[in-house]
């Protein structure tokens, strides 16, 4: 007696939607409170640790990629966020007067990302069992920058991490919704 693939995808999509909305909220809240007018967006270009993972950037590309490759990509992006989210949850406490809403979201995103990763490993295990072995992911070199003494540099490091989190969580959510429609609803959602 197993959880059906359809149920697994339903739960994964509900979770990825939730994680992205949290990620958008924490980015907006942090930006409004700490980095308005500092022009960080101009520097946060080509700066995500996951940019080495080639991911589809429009609908055609996403629809042409084989579902096993897209599933593995989602897995790789999720794995790449395990380490930074762990440190985000602890380092965000050191930000001056960090409000409880930012702290709580950082902890919740880290916990739910781990949960989604478990779910994705389950889904990949079902769809393409032999694939589980290869643990491809992007290493995150950003911890030292979150601990810099210079406040501006440290704030930019947080800004950049949250900017990339909002972007990647949106990618994961989008790809999972595509995969669910393709694999469970025969592309007819």
């Amino acid at each position: 007696c197993q959880v059906s693939l359809g149920d697994l995808f339903d739960r994964a999509v509900k979770l990825s939607h939730y994680i992205h909305s949290l990620s958008a909220e924490i980015f907006n809240e942090f930006d409004e409170r700490y980095t308005q007018g500092r022009g960080f967006i101009a520097k946060a270009v080509n700066s995500c640790h996951t940019s080495s993972l080639t991911t589809p950037e429009d609908k055609e590309q996403a629809q042409q990629i084989h579902h096993e490759d897209l599933l593995n990509l989602v897995l790789s992006v999720l794995r790449s966020w395990n380490d930074p989210l762990l440190h985000l949850a602890s380092e965000v406490r050191r930000i001056k007067e960090a409000p409880d809403t930012i702290l709580w979201k950082a902890v919740e995103i880290e916990a739910q990302n781990k949960r989604l990763l478990e779910g994705m490993e389950r889904i990949v295990g079902r769809v393409h069992p032999s694939d589980l072995g290869n643990e491809v992911y992007s290493r995150w070199p950003g911890l030292p920058s979150l601990q810099l003494a210079d406040e501006d540099s440290r704030l930019f490091a947080f800004y950049n991490l949250l900017h990339c989190l909002r972007r990647d969580s949106n990618k994961i959510d989008n790809y999972l919704k595509l995969l669910k429609c393709r694999l469970i609803h025969d592309s007819n959602c």
């Binding site: 007696c1 197993q2 959880v3 149920d7 697994l8 739960r11 509900k14 979770l15 939730y18 949290l22 709580w104 919740e108 916990a111 739910q112 949960r115 478990e118 779910g119 389950r122 295990g125």
Partner: protein, 210 residues
């Protein structure tokens, strides 16, 4: 003298917020001797069995699974073994999917207020989601259902209100004393218990259009 224990039975499993869950069992006959129980489980796709991580948090004959031990991605397979000096008896095997045993706590703070506006007079019912312990679980989307009746009446009127946490009731009888309750459920899980009753006595002269 004495007998081997009777067969234990799993009674119920419940998750209040899709993050933790608890199962309860009912012992069989004790065979006239002191018994103890071992609660085994394994998860879908795993061979090895584990023992219940926490027999105490949820009281006697229970097993509590904290966040760390709870997964919504695999079904659980449970067996309970009763043992005494004479022998042991195992329960049937039970399968549980955590997402299907979600039963939230009842909603909180149900309040009833009579309001008079230009376009109508109505009874405003307001409530808040269950507290769900320390978890502000935002990924549990709740639907609510109200029931209301005149205090002396027999028949409850049930109203499904979806995600909302307020509701306006227009058609009520002036002078009547009403009692209301609210409950909630997650997606298509189990309804919570009804909240405690809340009452309101409508003044006599109030003209509630009906």
């Amino acid at each position: 003298s004495g007998q081997p224990p009777g067969k234990p039975e799993l009674i119920r499993c419940r998750s209040p917020e899709k993050e933790t869950f608890t199962c309860w069992w009912k012992p069989g006959s004790d065979g006239g001797l002191p018994n103890n129980y071992i609660f085994f489980y394994n998860k879908e796709g795993e061979d090895e069995f584990h023992e219940c991580p926490d027999y105490t948090t949820a009281g006697p004959n229970s097993c509590y699974f904290s966040k760390k031990h709870t997964s919504i991605w695999r079904t659980y397979n449970f067996t309970i073994k009763a043992m005494n000096e004479i022998g042991s008896t195992a329960s049937d095997s039970y399968y549980v999917d955590v997402a299907n045993i979600v039963q939230p706590d009842p909603p909180e703070n149900l309040s009833l207020e009579f309001e008079k506006k230009v376009y109508g007079e109505y009874l405003l019912l307001k409530w808040s989601p269950p507290l769900l312990g320390d978890l502000r679980s935002g990924w549990l989307t709740l639907d609510y259902e109200l029931r209301i009746k005149p205090e002396e009446g027999q028949v409850w009127e049930k109203i499904f209100v979806g995600h909302r946490t307020t509701y306006k009731m227009y058609s009520l009888n002036p002078g009547e004393r009403y009692v209301a309750q609210v409950r909630c459920r997650s997606d298509h899980g189990l309804w919570s218990d009804w909240s405690p009753k809340s009452y309101i006595k409508l003044q006599k002269d109030v003209r509630v259009k009906d």
